[in-house]
């Protein structure tokens, strides 16, 4: 601890703190222009100069360590005079175009000039006259306003790990620019805009939209991936104008990714649905809400009466709130007496629950993000976390940079993370489970982990050891193409580098990992003592904001709210007490079963809330056949999605900014959407629609507010409900499942030998893109300019062999179908594999992908590539 005096105030700070930190602790304001707590101190702006007794020169507070006994003054007349001079120098070049500058009102320079009353300037010089650069989709660069604080350069390099811009040239000519005068070509996360203290970097989407001081800021949570970043929805006159993040609030430390910062335009898209639509003979016709609700209820009742409750199903959504998912499952279970409710989780995230619950006793206790900074080793398996969950990616980069964590990537595809990783093992697509099994086998065989003896005592160890023993280094080389030496190094590093964290995604969009990856990862974590009571060394961020919340709310065929099994009699009775009626006893149909049943004609009605199976689910042709065969398809969404076009009745819903409710992120931490603007005229919040449908179907008397739903959940399922109360902000979800069960192993069931149909030599990897979130971000112009379409990523070797030039059209065919896409030749792709992102209707990636025969299992699709 260091004890010092600032402006007469005694203050204690920890070792390594700067004078600036000490001043902040003492509540003394020191102006800064180039400082940001996320960045290495820089000392460029000279605004924070302080007078330290006994020092000949003034010291910059941001770079000078606080020492014992220092007596620091920050507001002497001399310092004030110096500050004014610094500001005068800055204003020599800085244009005073504040009336037309988007940053006016939130500009540090403007504020400081005002605070220090710099009314005249003793200096005159040439003003800079750079042309304003609007050549990229999102960031306007006006270098005339730049004060060269370097914050944008540093956040881009240090926090984002991108380094798209630099300080170039020298002296008067110095500017911040991409190399070679190129146009900005980067991730478009907009972090540079957020840190710019002036208006040199501004958002093109916000340009001339609103004066910053007129914006209402509503604290909310990002609706896209499951990272759970805190955001402020900034709105004016009922419109969302921009999204921002504050460094001091939430888990994201002020960081946002492209989806989070720019993916808000869909809220006010002209394509939003503003009236219920009924399919007529030719086209859809607008109908009144009351008629629509009556119609929906009537059709559902008719079908139930005629074909029984099992003929009706629902698809829930990880994008709507916990309360809304709760209402949907209640509506199905009580109103329609069926457990037929499932979601996109069936194609991905559910594998985590199915893998971990048997091994760890419950899903509780997935690590908090603090587990990333605590880890000495971070193994990222087959996942481009920096794209799917970019801010989690930032945490990993930060752990490496500030804590010296060893980052190891096992991934066929190169990414930002593989570029920064200490080691990159390039396995064949879809073989992550085999590599993890190989690591476990080596650790067990060579007794590499000191925790092995402890693990041996856990139930099921022998079965697990036996199931991975087959994955010898030679076998892993044959299956995954990983050299035995690489694998041995990996096993040694992982075993020696505790605490070690395994990070991977289980997105429905990805076809390379499933239940076995989960079992293999959990097993590896257990034998190295990284998982066990009170710790789970796996971090598995989901693809959408409320994946955990949706499952905890009971939106699954075999789970009740609070993750109780439907087969659990006591749980059913508890629900019956709360609901006044018991949920059906037998588990309902899962996603795959519902689609099969619809295809066969035994499922007659489907209620789809906030999901777009026609793009997001595998085997598009089969999904279409199934949906077209339904007697009644009810779709509730913001847009006329590919799925809604097949519906008999479409109900327009409200977006995250227009409603309130709880969601749970990848840590299972609860945060809330807070209504920032009123729903679009004609659309309603999902919970209101569900509440009304409940009424019409005779389930309760409706709900007047989200709080009423929360209240009911608290009474019915305290473990879930308690985490939802606004007072418990930031709590993690608890489950009703047994707590503190001793972990046990589960045997891996993996043969390793992937069978590939003849004539399809390429492995098709599918997944999400950095700039898109599901199908909803397609509705915003900004991100669509950055990533307007899905392109086929192919390695330079393969492109050359097939004579496919960059940006030419290619045909991609699998056993299921064929699509056309533009080729992108990229060194990030390994030979023999191609990557095609989802999100788009064309190319319809999921029309190439088959549905998995076994739940939780996925196979990498085999395709052939031809010139288009």
């Amino acid at each position: 601890m260091r004890k010092l005096k600032i402006e007469g105030k005694e203050v204690q700070v920890s070792d390594g703190a700067t004078i600036l930190d000490a001043a902040q602790a003492a509540g003394v304001y020191i102006p800064t222009l180039c400082h940001d707590p996320r960045l290495t101190p820089y000392g460029a702006c000279r605004m924070c100069l302080t007078d330290v007794e006994g020092q000949r020169k003034l010291l910059p507070a941001c770079t000078s360590p606080a020492e014992d006994g220092m007596v620091v003054r920050v507001n002497t007349d001399y310092i004030k005079k110096l500050r004014r001079t610094v500001l005068e120098f800055l204003c020599v070049h800085h244009p005073l175009d504040c009336p037309v500058c988007d940053s006016a009102g939130e500009c540090s320079l403007q504020d400081m000039v005002f605070q220090n009353a710099v009314v005249a300037n003793r200096f005159k010089a040439e003003k800079k006259a750079y042309p304003v650069d609007s050549s990229n989709p999102l960031v306007e660069r006006n270098m005339n306003r730049c004060i060269l604080c370097g914050k944008c350069v540093r956040i881009c390099g240090e926090v984002q790990g991108v380094g798209a811009i630099g300080l170039v040239w020298r002296g008067f000519d110095t500017e911040i620019a991409p190399p070679y005068g190129r146009s900005l070509d980067c991730e478009f996360c907009g972090q540079c805009i957020a840190v710019c203290p002036v208006g040199a970097l501004t958002s093109k989407l916000f340009k001339y939209r609103a004066r910053s001081w007129l914006l209402d800021k509503t604290p909310s949570v990002c609706p896209h991936c499951s990272t759970g970043c805190s955001i402020s929805v900034e709105s004016m006159k009922g419109r969302v104008m921009r999204i921002s993040a504050e460094p001091g609030r939430g888990i994201n430390e002020g960081n946002l990714c492209p989806k989070g910062r720019f993916g808000y335009e869909f809220v006010h898209s002209p394509k939003r649905l503003d009236s219920p639509l009924q399919r007529g003979a030719k086209d859809f016709a607008r109908i009144e809400w009351s008629a629509a609700l009556t119609k929906a209820a009537e059709r559902l009742k008719e079908i139930r009466a005629k074909h029984g409750p099992a003929s009706i199903g629902a698809i829930a959504s990880p994008r709507i709130t916990i309360e809304e998912n709760y209402l949907l499952q209640k509506l199905m279970r009580i109103g329609l007496a069926t457990n037929n409710i499932d979601s996109i989780a069936a194609y991905g995230y559910r594998a985590l629950y199915d893998g971990l619950i048997p091994m760890f006793g419950s899903i509780d206790g997935l690590p908090e993000y603090s587990g990333i900074s605590a880890a000495r080793t971070i193994l990222v398996a087959g996942s481009n976390v920096t794209e799917t969950n970019p801010v989690v990616g930032n945490f990993i980069l930060k752990a490496k940079k500030t804590k010296g964590a060893r980052v190891i990537c096992v991934n066929p595809r190169g990414s930002k993370l593989t570029r920064h990783a200490n080691a990159w093992i390039r396995n064949r697509p879809g073989t992550e489970a085999a590599v993890l099994a190989g690591i476990s086998a080596l650790i067990i065989r060579d007794k590499l982990s000191p925790k092995l003896d402890e693990a041996r005592r856990l139930p099921g160890f022998d079965e697990f050891a036996k199931s991975v023993a087959a994955f010898t280094p030679e076998k892993v080389e044959a299956v995954a193409g990983v050299k035995p030496d690489e694998l041995k190094g990996l096993a040694r590093d992982f075993a020696a580098g505790s605490p070690a964290l395994i990070v991977f995604t289980l997105n429905s969009f990805e076809n390379s990992k499933g239940l076995q990856t989960c079992v293999a990862a959990a097993g590896l974590s257990l034998i190295t003592g990284n998982s066990g009571p009170g710790r789970i060394g796996l971090l598995v961020p989901g693809e959408t904001c409320n994946m955990h919340g949706m499952l905890h709310a009971g939106a699954a065929p075999d789970l009740l709210p609070g993750l109780s099994r439907i087969a659990d009699r006591a749980a059913r009775e508890a629900m019956a007490k709360a609901w006044g009626a018991a949920p059906p006893e037998a588990a309902g149909l899962g996603m795959e079963e519902m689609i099969s049943a619809a295809e066969k004609g035994t499922l007659k009605a489907l209620y789809v809330v906030g999901e777009n199976p026609m793009v997001n689910f595998p085997d598009t042709a089969r999904v279409r056949r199934a949906l077209e065969k339904l007697e009644f398809l009810l779709v509730q969404d913001l847009f006329m999605t590919e799925t809604a076009r097949l519906a008999h009745l479409v109900l327009p819903a409200a977006s995250f900014a227009e409603k309130s409710g709880a969601v749970a992120n990848a840590e299972m931490r609860v945060s809330r959407f807070v209504q920032a603007v009123k729903p679009l005229n004609g659309a309603f919040e999902d919970w209101k629609i569900l509440s009304n449908l409940c009424c019409v179907l005779g389930v309760g008397e409706g709900y007047g507010s989200v709080a009423e739903i929360t209240g009911e959940i608290r009474r019915a399922v305290p473990a879930l409900g308690d985490a939802l109360s606004p007072a418990a902000e930031g709590r993690r979800l608890g489950s009703q499942a047994a707590q503190g069960t001793a972990p046990s192993f589960k045997a891996l069931s993996l043969d390793g030998a992937a069978k590939r149909p003849d004539g399809f030599p390429f492995s098709l990897l599918t997944g999400a893109m950095l700039n898109h979130s599901g199908t909803v971000t397609r509705m915003g112009d900004g991100l669509m300019k950055v990533s307007p379409k899905a392109v086929l990523w192919i390695s330079p070797e393969d492109a050359k062999a097939l004579q496919i030039p960059d940006a030419s059209t290619v045909k991609i065919a699998s056993e299921k179908g064929q699509v056309f896409a533009e080729a992108k030749v990229s060194e990030t792709m390994p030979k023999g594999a191609v990557f095609l992102p989802v999100h788009f209707e064309t190319p319809a990636v999921n029309s190439l992908v088959g549905h998995s025969p076994r739940a939780g299992e996925k196979e990498v699709s085999a395709v052939k590539i031809e010139k288009g």
Binding site: V153, V162, G163, I165, V168, P179, Y180
Partner: protein, 154 residues
Amino acid sequence: MQENRIDDVLAAFRGKQGSLIPILQKVQERLGFLSGESISFISKALRISESEIFGVASFYAQFRFTKPGEHCVKVCLGTACHVRGGALIMDAMERELGVPAGGTTPDFKFTLERVACFGSCALAPVIVTDKKVHGSMTPAKAKDILDQYRRRQG
């Protein structure tokens, strides 16, 4: 591929910290300038972003980023040459070559540069073509020198 032309340069420095500037110097020696392609290649090898490399390189006057012409014409605008009409020579050269100071003619024959003193002040104003110093220049004489170079190649 330029990569092939500089990978031995990179190989020589593999594993050494602080070798960015020597690498840039060697690459410029090899290629005559630092191309975007070469910086992208260096970026991958050293795992330093292209913009950081460009930031370092553009700080130093010794690096150039465009392909130089076959011949380099330097016009001195140091004190002595300046008072004896160096600016007139520069004007004439700019007009004659059709490129501003620092530019290269579209046929990559000449690169025009301004310098500040060669230490040949007694001969002011001077121009230097490649390594040859020409003293007591007038716009007409300077033009003749260019013509000689043009004729030499036919």
